[in-house]
Amino acid sequence: MEYYSYVNIFETKGLEYLLLISFLVFFILFLKYFFSPNDENE
């Protein structure tokens, strides 16, 4: 009988959730990089 490991991020959707969260963090940082004060004098 095969057992399903709930803590294995490869078998569950854990990796997808981690990627999504990291994307949101990186996206905010990416936008902040663009719109930081020294860029406003364009």
Partner: protein
């Protein structure tokens, strides 16, 4: 200008005026003309053979490869590059960002010509080209086919773009009332055009959803339509950066340099949009890779090729755009635009040609005649574009809308 020319010029909109404007201007023996004219003539000869003897006489298409270079490059890639029109018209006419107003007309013209020539190239690839009217006249609508949606969208979008550009044509012809009337339709046509674009950009991707067993799983996904739509944004923006850079050199004498926004700022703004859209596209690629559990597929050469596409032609230009925008380095932004465009070509060809039938011994490579016809289409488009911009008020900010 000769006396006849002056008389014709005074009677704008007359047949004489139009015939006068048809005459070539400038030097004929330019490097571009010397290269393009023989290719156009050769391409036309090949097209005659294609329509007389059929597809098999000039292409390497077969029952295993019914769609080849003409669909993969001309239609699927060409339409992605034409996306700049719906992005810029949305920004200028809907969001009212005046900064990009000076490039709106040339972008719409480019988009329109791209659709006419590249989407029009679809007719070359039909075994029975006269059947192209079937989705329109109802002989065999094919409601269930994505191609039905794409056919109608191409037709309607070309009409929408024609309406968007018509005030410029009316101004050229001296039709003031027509220009005024057509200008009132612009916003409606823009909104209609954006709606159509969003659907058929993704619709082109949806065409490949029925080919699941044939496309390599690293490229096949149920989210192909979303990927096509997302990637069309950096494709369109990169194309605008690339072509406006060339236009500013080739047509520098007729460009209005008193535009409200410096050209440099426009390129940087476009670069910013391209960087953000590439970032989102890269994320989509990553999450689709993980969602599809493709870890086992990256151990062979297909995996290497996949990572070259994703890292080399999505992530790398994204970083280049970001750095170029931040440091106001136009050279870096233009390089990123070229790399993005190559990446889009690779991506579209990967799905439609390169990884198609990846698991069968039958392979397809376009014949030299297919490549010549593709070059012919590109060159004719550039000829028409050049004819229009040297006669109509396309580059000036004081616009026709």
């Amino acid at each position: 200008m000769s006396i006849k020319g002056v008389v014709a010029f005074e009677k704008k909109g007359s047949l004489k005026y139009i015939l006068h404007e048809m005459k070539p201007r400038g030097k004929m023996l330019t490097p571009f003309n010397i290269i393009s004219i023989p290719i156009i003539i050769l391409g036309l000869v090949i097209l005659v053979i294609r329509f007389v003897k059929g597809l098999g006489a000039v292409t390497n298409l077969s029952q295993d490869y019914p769609w080849g270079f003409w669909i993969g490059f001309d239609v699927v890639t060409g339409v992605a590059f034409a996306a700049g029109a719906y992005i810029i018209t949305f920004v200028v006419y809907v969001m009212r960002v005046e900064k990009y107003h000076s490039i709106a007309k040339i972008t719409v013209l480019n988009g329109f010509l791209a659709y006419v020539f590249y989407a029009g190239a679809l007719i070359l690839d039909l075994g029975k080209p006269w059947n192209i009217v079937n989705p329109i006249i109802g002989n065999s609508f094919g409601y269930n086919s994505v191609l039905f949606l794409v056919a109608w969208h191409f037709l309607l979008y070309m009409m929408a773009q024609l309406i968007e550009f018509f005030p410029v044509t009316a101004e050229w012809l001296g039709w003031k009332k027509v220009k005024r009337f057509m200008s009132t339709l612009t916003l409606g046509a823009v909104i209609f055009g954006i709606t159509l674009s969003l659907l058929h950009q993704s619709g082109l991707g949806a065409l490949f959803m029925m080919a699941k067993p044939k496309i390599h799983p690293l490229w096949y996904s149920e989210f192909i339509p979303l990927l096509f739509l997302t990637s069309s944004i950096p494709a369109g923006l990169s194309m605008i950066i690339f072509e406006s850079t060339i236009s500013h050199r080739v047509f520098r004498d007729i460009i209005d340099h008193n535009s409200h926004t410096p050209f440099e700022d426009i390129i940087i703004g476009l670069g910013k949009g391209a960087a953000i859209s590439l970032f989102i596209y890269y994320f989509f690629k990553a999450i689709i890779f993980i969602h599809g559990r493709h870890w086992s597929l990256i151990t062979d050469w297909w995996g290497v090729w996949y990572f070259i596409e994703v890292f080399g032609f999505v992530l790398l230009p994204c970083i280049m755009y970001a750095n170029g925008v931040k440091s106001r380095n136009l050279g870096l932004i233009r390089s990123a635009a070229v790399i993005t465009m190559i990446g889009i070509i690779i991506n579209r060809l990967n799905i439609s040609v390169i990884t198609f039938n990846w698991n069968t011994p039958v392979k397809y490579f376009p014949s030299w005649m297919e490549i010549v016809v593709t070059l012919m289409i590109i060159f004719i488009e550039i000829w028409v574009l050049r004819w229009v911009v040297t006669r109509m008020n396309v580059f000036n900010y004081e616009d026709s809308h």
